[in-house]
Amino acid sequence: MTSAPAPLPKVPHVAGRILDAQLHLMDRQVLDHDGVPVTTVDDLEVSGPALDEDIEPGSPAPVLNALLTGSVLGTRIFGGRPPSSRLIRIPWKDVAEVGVVVKLGVKGEPLDASWVERWVRDKIIARIPGGRHDPR
């Protein structure tokens, strides 16, 4: 171990809400602009140095890049991480509101995160008669 680290700088005053990633973001339902469920937040992608690198003093704070979903659930529970190209991201800039659920400002349909839903819908459900029938 190295010598005791220098005392941490004070937390800068920020405008806006302070969120706890584990409490407020992880495992939350993600709804799109119209309130249709998209997915749950399975993991978060944070910018900054890699896990096994030392953090240089004075480097900028990590920034939340994207919400992750899909196979990261398996790696989150059992360990490890998929390669960056395999991650299914919902860019943070698409997020409009964080409350009991995470609301996006865009429609969910064209997102990467909805690709399985789109595929199942187009290839399987739409081919069964009555699939587009409104039950009300």
Partner: protein, 409 residues
């Protein structure tokens, strides 16, 4: 007047929808082997399900979120996944048992071999889930299931000795030809049959489907407080029928055909017609509920869009997962396994999985972030803790008892 009709419909649907193949088989087996000495378990089970259905309905109505959505948020993905795996597998077993039950009842009515009815029943279940509106589905199967009241009617027509019946109920004892172990095993089975886990998922998701709000809480409370105990009385009358006709003849129930014999004895062919309609309706309704529960639990854990109020094209993975469940159910039944055996195992495994289902409900119902001012009161919490202990005891004791008694034989 319209309000009153609505309330009555809710109660009647709750009564008719209470009994499923697990209740039918387990109560009949218990009545034929133990007489009325296990009726107290049904009472305990009914109070339990009233308590937890109430809580899960309140959670859904107040927070607008269904159970499994909240399980993952509150307990984390690991506990949620463990919960999901166990609940889903046992749900699947129950779906298989219910479809088998529909097929067996149709065989009794028509003499056509039950294996031929299985695909028919499964396709019918799928069609209703695919096209029929949620409220219509609930009301029709619930009302038709009311014909099971013929069991209670048959009890009266069989002219029992009420005094000795009351004695058996109030002073339970292990019958001579059974052991304490099989008595305890069937107590757990009966408990699992009364407190079916899928009921909680279905009730809370159904509340979201029908878009309940705080103002609907009163109606839901009435449905549960009046409907479920009356449904429990129906279950008990199944056991009483078996105890009156089958127990004295030394018959232990191993097939659905034996369950209906007491009704035929007391009420003749008309009674037989009622009971067959009732069994088909009740098991069909339960098949719908358990299949939907499978879809609900998966979709709510993974965050898919779900709900019968959406077009199938807008809830594609939800519907696909239910289709797969039904196909698996058909596959299992096509191997020729006895559906009654599947039922008997499904109720015991339901009892084993109960803690996984009820603990999250108890936790969330106490969480002010979701429930605001409608969190559990002290009395409800006290009762909830008592039941948690009962459920844990039943769950832990189930497998050793299953081994010791050879699954009750």
């Amino acid at each position: 007047m319209k309000r009153l009709l609505g309330v009555a419909l809710g109660i009647l649907t709750a009564i008719g929808g209470f009994v499923d193949i697990g209740d039918l088989v387990t109560n009949a087996v218990v009545g034929s082997r133990f007489g009325l000495s296990l009726v107290w378990v049904v009472v305990v089970g009914v109070v339990g399900i009233v308590l937890f259905a109430n809580m899960s309905g309140r959670v859904a109505a107040v927070s607008g979120r269904a159970t499994f959505e909240v399980i993952r948020e509150r307990l984390g993905p690991r506990a949620g996944l463990a919960n999901l795996s166990a609940s889903f597998l046992i749900n699947l077993m129950t779906v298989t048992a219910e479809i088998g039950g529909v097929a067996l009842a149709l065989q009794l009515a028509s003499s056509v071999y039950y294996l031929l009815w299985i695909p028919v029943a499964a396709v019918a279940v799928w069609l209703v889930i695919w096209r029929v509106r949620f409220s219509i589905m609930e009301n029709v199967t619930g009302l038709l299931g009311l014909t099971l009241v013929i069991f209670a009617v048959a009890v009266f027509l069989l002219k029992p000795d009420w005094g000795s019946l009351a004695g058996q109920v109030l002073a339970p004892s292990v019958p001579q030809q059974e052991t304490v172990w099989s008595y305890s095993y069937y107590a757990i089975a009966l408990f699992g049959a009364a407190m079916t886990p899928y009921e909680v998922f279905f009730f809370s998701s159904g509340a979201v489907e029908e878009k309940w709000g705080v103002k609907d809480l009163a109606q839901s409370r009435i449905n549960v407080l009046i409907g479920f105990p009356l449904g429990g009385l129906l279950s008990i009358s199944i056991a009483v029928c078996a105890a009156l006709v089958l127990l004295p003849a030394g018959i232990s129930v191993t097939s659905l055909s034996q369950v209906i014999l007491p009704v035929a004895e007391g009420a003749g062919k008309l009674g037989l017609a009622f009971v067959l309609v009732g069994i088909v309706a009740a098991t069909f309704g339960a098949a719908l509920e358990t299949t939907l529960s499978s879809g609900y639990t998966l979709a709510q854990f993974f965050g898919w869009s779900w709900g019968k109020f959406r077009r199938p094209a807008e809830a594609a993975r939800f519907h696909l997962s239910m289709i797969v469940c039904l196909l698996v159910g058909i596959g299992v039944l096509a191997t020729g396994v006895d559906p009654v055996l599947v039922t008997e195992y499904s109720v015991v495994f339901s009892a084993i999985a109960l803690p996984l289902t009820y603990l999250p409900i108890l936790i969330v119902a106490n969480d002010p972030q979701y429930m605001r001012e409608h969190v559990n009161g002290r009395a409800v919490n006290a009762l909830g803790m008592v039941y948690l202990v009962i459920i844990l005891v039943a769950s832990i004791a189930a497998i050793p008892l299953m081994i010791v008694t050879g699954a009750g034989s």
